[in-house]
C-alpha cells in the first residue's frame, strides 16, 4: 500500500536523521575549550579522578574509536554515560523528568491548536472586521512576546494579583490533580506563541481556500454556508496548517525549557539548564538528544498526517 510504504520510507529517513543528530552531539563535546574532564571536575580535582572520568567518557581513545563507542552505547543501550552530579545514568534522569515536559508540550500544543483554529477561522470569516483586526493584533503580539516574559506576566497577574493559581508549577510532592492544576498556567503561556502562528496560518489558508473554484462549486450546489466552510474549506485549509504546527513544535519544545525555569517545573528543560551550569556534559548530551528525538518524531507524525489529509499525495 502506498501509505504504508511512505510511512516506512519516512521512518527510515528519521532514523538516518537521528544518526546525524547523534553525530553532531558527539562532535559537540569537542567544542569544550580545553579538557572537558578538567573543566567538569574543576582545576583542583585529583588527577586520578580526572583520568577516571576521561576514561569513562572515552576521551583517552582515538577519535574514531570514541565515535564507535559513543554510537554503539547510545544506539544499543540508550546510554549516554553517568551524570557527574550523582553518578546516576543520565538517561534515567532524563526519563524521570520527561513526563513533566511531555505533559507541558502536549497540553501546550492542544491549547495552541484550539486557540489557533478558533481565532483563525473567526478572523477569516469576519475578514476586515473589528474581530479580524483584534485577532491580528493578538497574532502580532503573541508572536513577539517572549514566552518567559509572558510566563512571568501570568504569574504576576493570575497568581499574585488574582490568586487563581499557585506561583509554582507542578512537582512530585503534589497529587496528580493538583499538578494538573499547576500545569494550566504554564501550558497556556507556552501555547500563546504557537497559537498565534497557527491562527495566522489558518486565517490565510482558509481565505485562500475560500477563493478556490471548488468552494464556488459547493456554493453553486446549494450547500449552506456552514457546510461550505467547515466541510469543504476547512479540510483543505488544514493541510498547510498541520505543517506549520509541526515546524513550530520545535519552538514550543524550546519554550518548555524557559517555562520550566520560570515556573520551577522539574522537567527535562530544567535538567538541561542545571546540567549546563554543572558542566555535566553527558547529561547535556542526553537531554539535548531526547529533545531532538521528540522533535523528529513529531515531524514524522506530521508528515504522515499530511499524507493522510491530502489524497493527491496519498495515492502517488
Amino acid at each position: 500500500m502506498a501509505l504504508l510504504s511512505y510511512v516506512i520510507k519516512r521512518v527510515g529517513l528519521g532514523v538516518l536523521t537521528i544518526f546525524g543528530v547523534l553525530t553532531i552531539i558527539f562532535i559537540s563535546i569537542r567544542l569544550v575549550p580545553g579538557d572537558p574532564a578538567v573543566i567538569a571536575l574543576g582545576d583542583l580535582a585529583n588527577p586520578d579522578d580526572i583520568a577516571r572520568l576521561r576514561h569513562a567518557w572515552g576521551l583517552d581513545l582515538p577519535i574514531h574509536e570514541q565515535y564507535i563507542k559513543f554510537m554503539s552505547q547510545v544506539l544499543l543501550h540508550g546510554d549516554f554515560g553517568l551524570s557527574i552530579k550523582n553518578n546516576q545514568p543520565t538517561m534515567m534522569r532524563v526519563l524521570n523528568r520527561l513526563p513533566y515536559t511531555i505533559t507541558l508540550a502536549v497540553l501546550g500544543t492542544a491549547i495552541a491548536i484550539l486557540i489557533g483554529l478558533l481565532l483563525g477561522v473567526l478572523a477569516a470569516l469576519k475578514r476586515n472586521s473589528v474581530i479580524d483586526i483584534l485577532v491580528m493584533v493578538f497574532v502580532v503580539l503573541g508572536f513577539s512576546i517572549p514566552v518567559f516574559y509572558l510566563g512571568l506576566v501570568f504569574i504576576q497577574f493570575f497568581s499574585i494579583q488574582l490568586k487563581w493559581f499557585p506561583v509554582l508549577g507542578p512537582n512530585p510532592n503534589y497529587s496528580f490533580m493538583e499538578n494538573l492544576r499547576r500545569m494550566i498556567l504554564p501550558s497556556i503561556a507556552i501555547a500563546i506563541g504557537i497559537g498565534a502562528v497557527t491562527a495566522r496560518m489558518t486565517r490565510s489558508s482558509l481565505l485562500e481556500v475560500l477563493n478556490m473554484d471548488y468552494i464556488l462549486t459547493a456554493r453553486a450546489k446549494g450547500a449552506p454556508e456552514y457546510r461550505v466552510v467547515f466541510k469543504h474549506a476547512l479540510r483543505n485549509a488544514l493541510i498547510p496548517v498541520v505543517t506549520i504546527v509541526g515546524l513550530n513544535f520545535g519552538a514550543l519544545l524550546g519554550g518548555t525549557v524557559l517555562i520550566e525555569y520560570v515556573f520551577g517545573i522539574p522537567g527535562l528543560g530544567s535538567l538541561l539548564v542545571e546540567a549546563v551550569f554543572e558542566r555535566d556534559y553527558p547529561q547535556i548530551q542526553a537531554s539535548v538528544f531526547v529533545f531532538s528525538l521528540l522533535f523528529i518524531s513529531v515531524n514524522i507524525v506530521v508528515d504522515i498526517l499530511y499524507h493522510f489529509l491530502d489524497p493527491r499525495i496519498r495515492l502517488e
Binding site: 464556488l216 462549486t217 453553486a220 450546489k221 446549494g222 450547500a223 489524497p311 495515492l315
Partner: protein, 323 residues
C-alpha cells in the same frame, strides 16, 4: 408573448477595490427562454463571468450586486433570502466552471461530491446507497468509463476531460432549468473540447434544459447556441440570433472581433486587428466604452446616454444607427 424563463434587467455588479470601483457588470439586460441556449461572449475582463455568478448570487468578495433585477420563473432572485436562494442553486440553476482541475474538491471522492448535490436537494433524508446508485447512473450518462469502480476515486485520479464530465454530471443531477457553463472547455484540448460540446448538445436535447454558455471563443458559441450577447467592458453591446450575429453583425466591435479570429477554413492575408487595449476597468471611457478603439467613432459616442438600435430583437448599442 410568454414570460421568459429568466429575465435579467439592468444588472449591476461592482467591485470595491482600494484603487477604486470596478464596474464589472454595468447595466446588463437579457432574456432566456426555456430550452434556449444563449451564448455570452467577450474578451477577458468584459464581465461575462461576473454576469453568470451574479445570477446565482455568488459574486466573490469584494464584489457586490448593486442594482437590477433577475426575474427567474416570476420571482426576483435578488429579493430572495439566502435560504431560498440555496434551493435555487444546484437545483434549478446549476453552474459549470472553466478549469476542471480546480472545480472539484481535492479531498473528497467524486462520488461523494456528486452525491452531495443530490442529497442537498432531496426531500427527507434518502439512503446514501440510493444516492450513489443515482450518481453511478448520472456519471455513466456523461461518459465516465467503469463508473462502478471509480465513484470512490479522488478528482486527481481523473483526466481534465473526465473531470469536466463529472462537473457536468453534477450540474445535471437535479435536472435543472438552467445550466450556466462558464468557459467549460477553455482548459481542454481541442478533441476533448469537441467531446464536451457534444455532451452538452446531447444533454440539452435529452433534458430540455436552457443553457447559458459563457465563452471567449466565437467558434464554440456558433457551434452550440441559438442567441448571442456580446459583452465589452461590462456592458452588452450587441444581442441577436446566432445567424444575425455571425452573418450580419451591427456593432463595430462584434464585426471586428469576428474578423480578427484566425480561421481554420479560409486563408486571409491580413487579420483585422482592433487597435489599442481594453479600457482600464476603474476609469472606463465615457459614453460608448468602445469609442477609443472604434474606427467609426463620432463625437456623440463620447456622451451618455447611448443609442440602442433594436430591429425585431436584434439589438446593438451604437450611435452609427441613430438616424
Amino acid at each position: 408573448m410568454t414570460h421568459p424563463l429568466l429575465d435579467v434587467r439592468n444588472l449591476k455588479t461592482y467591485f470595491y477595490l482600494r484603487r477604486g470601483v470596478v464596474k464589472a457588470v454595468d447595466g446588463v439586460s437579457f432574456r432566456l427562454n426555456r430550452g434556449e441556449a444563449l451564448g455570452i461572449v467577450g474578451e477577458s475582463g468584459s464581465g461575462k463571468t461576473m454576469t453568470a455568478l451574479s445570477i446565482l448570487r455568488l459574486v466573490p468578495y469584494p464584489g457586490k450586486i448593486v442594482g437590477g433585477e433577475i426575474i427567474f420563473k416570476g420571482r426576483d432572485l435578488l429579493k430572495l433570502t439566502e435560504k431560498e436562494m440555496r434551493h435555487i442553486r444546484g437545483k434549478e440553476i446549476s453552474l459549470i466552471f472553466q478549469d476542471p482541475q480546480n472545480s472539484l474538491n481535492p479531498v473528497f471522492t467524486v462520488g461523494w461530491q456528486v452525491g452531495e448535490a443530490i442529497e442537498l436537494h432531496s426531500e427527507g433524508k434518502p439512503l446514501w446507497d440510493r444516492i450513489i446508485e443515482k450518481v453511478i447512473n448520472i456519471l455513466r450518462g456523461v461518459g465516465i468509463p467503469r463508473v462502478e469502480d471509480r465513484v470512490n476515486d479522488y478528482p486527481h485520479e481523473f483526466s481534465g476531460g473526465q473531470k469536466q464530465r463529472i462537473m457536468i454530471g453534477m450540474s445535471i443531477s437535479n435536472n435543472p432549468d438552467i445550466i450556466i457553463a462558464d468557459e467549460p472547455t477553455t482548459a481542454l484540448d481541442v478533441t476533448i473540447q469537441a467531446q464536451i460540446i457534444d455532451l452538452l448538445k446531447d444533454l440539452r436535447s435529452r433534458y430540455n434544459s436552457s443553457i447559458i454558455l459563457i465563452a471567449h471563443n466565437m467558434g464554440l458559441v456558433s457551434e452550440l447556441c441559438d442567441n448571442v450577447a456580446v459583452m465589452y467592458a461590462g456592458r452588452i453591446v450587441e444581442y441577436g440570433s446566432i445567424e444575425e450575429i455571425f452573418n450580419d453583425p451591427l456593432h463595430p466591435y462584434t464585426r471586428m472581433l469576428l474578423r480578427c479570429i484566425p480561421r481554420t477554413d479560409i486563408d486571409v492575408d491580413k487579420l483585422e486587428s482592433i487597435p489599442g487595449e481594453p479600457p482600464d476597468p476603474v476609469n472606463p471611457p465615457s459614453g460608448c466604452r468602445f469609442h477609443p478603439r472604434c474606427p467609426y467613432a463620432k463625437e456623440e459616442c463620447k456622451r451618455d446616454p447611448i443609442y440602442i438600435e433594436n430591429i425585431d430583437g436584434h439589438m446593438a448599442v451604437c450611435e452609427l444607427y441613430r438616424r
